[in-house]
């Protein structure tokens, strides 16, 4: 699919903002206008300062992190001596240091699980930090990484939700005893009665994969420790929520006042991900303390993809009690959430963020719910655009689609029939949410009309008539914004909540100050990551003071040691437009009131009659006789002593604003989890290529009601960006793991972020139903398409596959291979080999086992006894093992080998444990080996059988190998063929040695083997 291919004809977009920004005009109001951004000049000319561009203190050390190649292993010991001997290395920090100077992180549920900033006695996911080298440069630090020796004892990995739920799966946290670490059931309304009286039950079962928004800038931490004051000063591109600040401070064993956290002026995207910097803030604080010098760490892309963070994977089963007309009376939901190796703050928030809107945009009064949380040997999860919404709505909107399919109804009619009615607003959902505003049905009809659904239907008919696979999908969702800081406590029982104390609200802060020249400064704790907060705040505050847009200077870099902030501060849950911009308006309005009082007497009017416009301050009754704004500002600073009694001169105001409707969960577990809820209705047309299975998005229409739009240009940018993420989620992106726990998506060549050729331009439509909750009437808008679009596309795929008796479309990401498997007829079988070709061993990869597996056989011109003797002779074995430089006997049939192994120029030096077992002379044996190098871990088992034949011996082997760490993460595409090549080298040498000829050197160039030449003659060309 390419975007341009989709663009065959142009349609006018109604309701979409003007193409491009408006020219700046002098007069307010600015709110509601497509203002160009104040941020852009610095970003476009290269002078913007991101965290890695800021100066460091003299003597700063650079950190590199040693990470586990194993998904699950006991950590037996770390030898850092050789690393410390590398010139330029100042220190190597390990879990021992963490135990001495730090504490485990607080965990959000009551279970004995410990998570430290460095592994203590066990590693639980590939990429988990094990040690940190601090050196004069990053290059030197990485040199020393390769010299650290770590001894691991691998444990069975848990790599799926199903496996985590199995009795007897290896517990990641033995003290918990199970990988099911939390389970809660909820009941709202009377679901049992509804199911009993409903005409029928429709069910859906889906799984949502792991993926991540991968901002273009990775994590950066600059940390320093002041021993005299026992305090930490850290600069990081952390994005909040600042509820994590106390978690960091506790882990560093200091009160929050002694962890001064600053954010840089610019940040290269987050989409929630930069919440996950926080363990590294603690880790680098620890490093600075141990080294006694400032420390800088810049995460690289391999580290980010492998170990930074991920959206949760979720398994969902939903049953719906439905009437014959498609009305849904009740839902029975089971959600099982994979949070990875550790429950890291603020998890299990992904699972509970949507608790108040579990029934989506629908009027469904009865709900039974079970939420389970499991841990697996994968990267811990965290914030990611759409946060829990993509997961929830994938299940819910697939269910609504299935209701239509099973009842033979139009899916759009089923949506229409169940939407919350306009006159029900504000609508209280079964689980306690309050949908604050909107006319969902009218919004849907507007989208159908303006998005030209009828034309799309006609197109589907026409293309289907040509035999093409075309489908239309729909999705309707509510988009929550401004999270209730208490929703996460819904995971606790009412009893546990009473003990812990109430949690609620979502406090936003903003400070507005007027200086003696009349300049206006705004400071917020919103930690923007590219959304244009400074622009919007300038619009809001310019309007309040009647000033020019460019008169307002907005400062968004944060210093927790000086600025106003609270736990809800930060950049997440789409809280900016509603909460932060609102708080700025509140602060500015209060300050304006104070200035009005200052000048009322002078203007001969009441303070209420003072007006601010056009840079002037004047009485409503006498607009011509005003003062300049700067004059009033100067008075506040220069003449505080001559003010009338009771008047405050201070021209600075800090507002703390929290949405009134955000209460703590009730004893009945009702929770209004967000302050406001936007509405989205999407529909789309997709085509599946019959030859390749490739999916093309032909048309996508997305209709948003996000309340009042503060800057339509930026709103459009948020929708386009969210849509692009959603296209990635739906069709391309997945953090993939092998069933042996190895991580497979370690580069941008394998983690498939969509490019300009993959992302089409959607039709964007708007409707504005101001929120009664927020000061400006605005709601969040940036996450919605991550919730609606993946399932909308899946519903379209389901429609396109209507002729193939497929109940569920393939799991996300919907790849061409998965679609082809459904639309292509059964594969023609492998033709029988021609006569005389039985001798050709097919090098086959056998699937279904763990890791990489394969089998093959070779004919060897020697007796089984001779072959046996070779295999059991250490000297011979050393010659057979690819790249073996030394082989020492360490026990009966057990060796320690030094091997340099790899393919082509890619080589790793492994110290390997090699053993022969299951000896059945001269018929069979098992050869095992395992080792670790800077490239990662490797292990393998080969079962070898010897069978006497006329020409000598047939050696048959069956192997399974497991490769972990870096080489698997970056080279997954070639692992199978590489392991075949290496195994092949072993047996080629065996053939050569048994045949009496000199073994070929696996490293040097060699002519094609006889076998290869024979195969080529036969046309197999191997």
């Amino acid at each position: 699919m390419t975007a341009t291919q989709t663009a065959t004809q142009t349609v006018e977009i109604k309701g979409s903002p003007a193409r491009g920004a408006e020219p700046v005009a002098a007069a307010a109001p600015f709110v509601g206008r497509a203002m160009p951004r104040v941020e852009d000049a610095a970003l476009l000319t290269g002078v913007a300062r991101y965290a890695d561009d800021l100066p460091v203190k003299p003597g700063t050390l650079h950190a590199a992190i040693l990470r586990s190649p194993h998904a699950h292993a006991d950590l037996l010991g770390i030898d850092t001596a050789a690393a410390l001997a590398v010139p330029g290395v100042a220190a190597v920090v390990t879990g021992e240091d963490a135990k001495r100077h730090a504490s485990a992180f607080l965990v959000g549920i009551r279970a004995p699980m410990e998570h430290w900033c460095l592994a203590i006695d066990r590693v639980r996911h590939v990429g988990e930090p094990v040690a940190v080298v601090l050196a004069d440069s990053r290059y030197l630090a990485e040199d020393a990484l390769d010299r650290i020796e770590v001894r691991y004892r691998p444990l069975p990995p848990v790599t799926s939700i199903a496996q985590a739920l199995e009795e007897g799966s290896e517990p990641l946290h033995p003290a918990v005893g199970s990988n099911l670490v939390n389970s809660r059931s909820f009941r709202y309304g009377d679901p049992e009665a509804a199911f009993a009286r409903a005409a029928r039950t429709v069910s859906v079962e889906v799984e949502y994969p792991r993926n991540s928004c991968t901002p273009m800038e990775c994590f950066v931490v600059l940390a320093d420790y002041d021993a005299a004051e026992d305090s930490y000063e850290v600069l990081s591109n952390f994005s909040g929520p600042f509820a994590v600040h106390p978690v960091m401070a506790r882990a560093l064993n200091v009160p929050g006042s002694r962890l001064r956290l600053k954010t840089p002026p610019h940040s290269g995207g987050s989409f929630g991900n930069k919440q996950a910097v926080f363990p590294y803030v603690v880790l680098m604080g620890l490093c600075a303390r141990v080294a006694g010098r400032p420390v800088k760490w810049v995460e690289d892309r391999l580290e980010h993809l492998m170990a930074a963070t991920s959206a949760t994977a979720r398994r969902m089963r939903i049953d719906a009690a439905v009437e014959p007309d498609g009305r849904v009376l009740a839902l029975r939901m089971e959600q099982t959430e994979d949070c990875g190796a550790y429950l890291r703050a603020p998890e299990p928030a992904s699972l509970y963020r949507n608790h108040g809107n579990l029934t989506g945009a629908y009027d469904i009064p009865n709900l039974a719910l079970t939420n389970r949380i499991v841990v697996t040997n994968k990267t811990p999860t965290g914030l990611n655009r759409g946060f829990g919404g993509g997961q929830l709505y994938y299940g819910l909107e697939r269910l609504m689609n299935r209701v239509a399919a099973e009842l033979g109804l139009d899916p759009l009619d089923v949506i229409r029939r169940n939407l919350v009615a306009a006159d029900a607003m504000p609508y209280r959902t079964a689980s306690g949410g309050t949908l604050d505003s909107g006319d969902y049905r009218a919004t849907l009809e507007q989208a159908v009309r303006e998005g030209a659904l009828d034309a799309l239907m006609a197109r589907r008919d026409a293309l289907r008539a040509e035999g093409r696979l075309y489908g239309i999908g729909y999705a309707a969702v509510v988009e929550p914004s401004i999270s209730n800081m208490g929703y996460i406590t819904t995971v606790l029982t009412a009893e546990e909540r009473r003990k812990a104390g109430p949690k609620n609200g979502a406090q936003a802060t903003a400070s507005v100050a007027v200086d003696p020249t009349g300049g206006v400064s705004v400071t917020v704790a919103s930690a923007p990551q590219g959304q244009g907060h400074r622009t919007v705040l300038a619009q809001v505050v310019a309007d309040v003071f009647g000033l020019r847009f460019e008169d307002i200077r907005v400062n968004t870099d944060l210093d927790t040691g000086k600025d106003a902030w609270s736990i809800a501060s930060g950049n997440y849950s789409s809280r900016f437009a509603g909460a932060v911009a609102g708080a700025a308006q509140v602060a500015a309005t209060r300050l304006r009131g104070r200035m009005a009082a200052l000048v009322a007497a002078q203007l001969n009017c009441r303070a209420d009659d003072v007006r601010f416009a056009g840079g002037k301050v004047f009485s409503d009754a006498n607009p011509d006789n005003g003062l300049s704004f700067s004059r009033v500002a100067a008075a506040g600073h220069w003449s505080p002593g001559t003010l009338p009694d009771g008047q405050e001169a201070a021209l600075r105001e800090t507002a703390f604003w929290t949405p009134e409707p955000l209460k703590a969960p009730t004893d009945g577990d009702h929770i209004n989890s967000s302050a406001c809820y936007g509405f989205i209705f999407d529909f789309c047309g997709v085509e599946i290529d019959r030859t390749t299975g490739a999916l093309r998005i032909d048309r996508y229409v997305t209709m948003h009601d996000a309340g009042r739009l503060l800057n339509p240009l930026l709103v459009e940018g948020q929708i386009l960006g969210g849509f692009a993420h959603a296209v990635g989620t739906a069709l391309y992106e997945e953090y993939a793991y092998g069933d042996d726990g190895r991580f497979l998506s370690g580069t941008f060549a394998d983690y498939l972020v969509p490019t300009a050729c993959e992302v089409p331009v959607p039709v964007i439509l708007h409707r504005e139903s101001p929120s009664p909750v927020t000061p400006l009437g605005a709601k969040g808008v940036g996450e919605g398409n991550c919730m609606s679009t993946p399932v909308c596309l899946a519903n379209a795929v389901a429609d396109a596959l209507a002729g193939f008796s497929v109940d569920e479309p393939p799991s996300l990401p919907i790849t061409p291979a998965k679609l082809a498997a459904l639309i292509h007829p059964p594969e023609p079988p492998r033709p029988a080999p021609a006569a005389g070709m039985n001798e050709i061993p097919p090098p086959a990869a056998v699937k279904g086992g763990r890791g990489l597996t394969g089998e093959g056989s070779r004919e060897v011109p020697a007796t089984p006894e001779q072959v046996w003797a070779i295999l059991l002779d250490p000297k011979e074995l050393a010659a057979l093992l690819p790249g073996c430089e030394a082989l020492d006997l360490v026990g009966p049939n057990a060796y320690r080998a030094e091997v340099v192994v790899g393919i082509g120029p890619v080589r790793g030096r492994y110290t390997a444990e090699v053993a022969l077992s299951d000896l059945d002379p001269p018929k069979a044996l098992t050869l095992t080996g395992s080792g670790t190098s800077a490239l990662g871990s490797g292990s393998g088992t080969g079962h070898v059988t010897l069978e006497r034949t006329a020409g000598g011996t047939r050696v048959t082997y069956r192997y399974s190998a497991s490769v972990g760490g870096k080489v698997a993460a970056v080279g997954g595409r070639m692992l199978d063929s590489a392991s075949r090549l290496l195994i092949g080298q072993f047996f080629e040498k065996l053939v050569a040695r048994a045949g009496g000829s000199a073994a070929s050197d696996a490293h040097s160039a060699r002519p094609p083997s006889l076998l290869a030449r024979l195969l080529r003659i036969l046309g197999l060309n191997r």
Binding site: P905, A934, V970, G972
Partner: protein
């Protein structure tokens, strides 16, 4: 993600490069465009002691068509070959395939010889070289040898090139009158390595299909034309070829999907190549 330490030499002559390479042995690597090697250096998958830069050697900037061959020297970039106005006439298959190689920005530095030496089983240039019956010219201090492309590739990242040799140039046979060519590949995203790539050539006597992304090296199979057309049992032949190629499951696609593509796209490109003979 920074390279391990190495010495660096920018020789002024090929002879100097070869002398340094001979001395450095297995611990020396040559670099030209660096678009394959540099990522591996940055990831420390490859850790040479000596890096020999061929990028500025005028001797290796040969790009010429003569005696029936298009010769492309080791320092010639993919962008330079793609920009050659006569390429579509000379080696139409290469002209069709090069736009699929990486991106505009990597083609600006990446070389054809580098891609051939790297021997990624999914890469387009090695496939074109095999499919057109091209050859690889290897050179060390003592001698120069020419290896048919079909014999050059041994497996993933593995070729017959010895440690003291460089790929001096690759040679593509110029398209003969009456031949036809077609190239198609299926990748996950634009510019990604191919899941499966199919390169077809058809001349007066035979239809030839080269496939990349399946076996551990680009692989070619030929069928005689029947009455001037594709063999009537082509579907069976493609099925047999697909199975023989093997192919593996990975995180993006299954082996079965790859075989499907050989059966389907294989036919498409063969038909295309037949129909565009000139």
């Amino acid at each position: 993600m920074k390279p391990a330490s190495f010495d660096y030499l920018r020789p002024a002559t090929v002879a100097d490069a070869l002398a340094a390479l001979a001395a450095g042995g297995d611990d020396a690597r040559v670099i030209a465009g660096g678009q394959s090697l540099m990522p591996m250096l940055n990831m420390r998958l490859v850790q040479p002691r000596l890096l020999i830069d061929l990028g500025r050697l005028e001797e290796l900037r040969t790009l010429r068509a003569e005696d029936g061959w298009l010769t492309v020297g080791a320092a010639v970039t993919q962008a330079e070959v793609l920009a050659r106005p006569t390429l579509a006439r000379e080696v139409p298959l290469l002209a069709a395939a090069l736009p699929w190689v990486g991106h505009f920005q990597t083609r600006n530095r990446g070389t054809l010889c580098g891609s051939v030496a790297h021997a990624d089983p999914s890469a387009e240039t090695p496939l074109c070289l095999v499919a057109t019956g091209g050859e690889v010219v290897l050179r060390n201090l003592r001698r120069r040898r020419t290896v048919p492309a079909a014999d050059f590739f041994l497996g993933p990242l593995t070729t017959v090139k010895a440690a003291d040799e460089i790929v001096e140039c690759v040679r593509f046979p110029l398209a003969r009158p009456g031949s036809g060519h077609a190239f198609r590949e299926q990748s996950m995203r634009h510019g990604d390595f191919a899941i499966t790539a199919c390169a077809a050539t058809v001349d007066e006597r035979s239809a030839n299909l080269g496939v990349g992304g399946m076996a551990d090296r680009p692989t070619l199979r030929s069928w005689p034309l029947v009455d001037g057309g594709l063999p009537p049992d082509l579907d069976d032949a493609l099925n047999a070829f697909a199975w023989d190629l093997g192919g593996d499951d990975d995180q993006h696609a299954t082996a079965r999907y790859r075989r499907d593509l050989v059966r389907r796209i294989g036919r498409t490109v063969l038909e295309e190549a037949l129909s565009c003979r000139r």
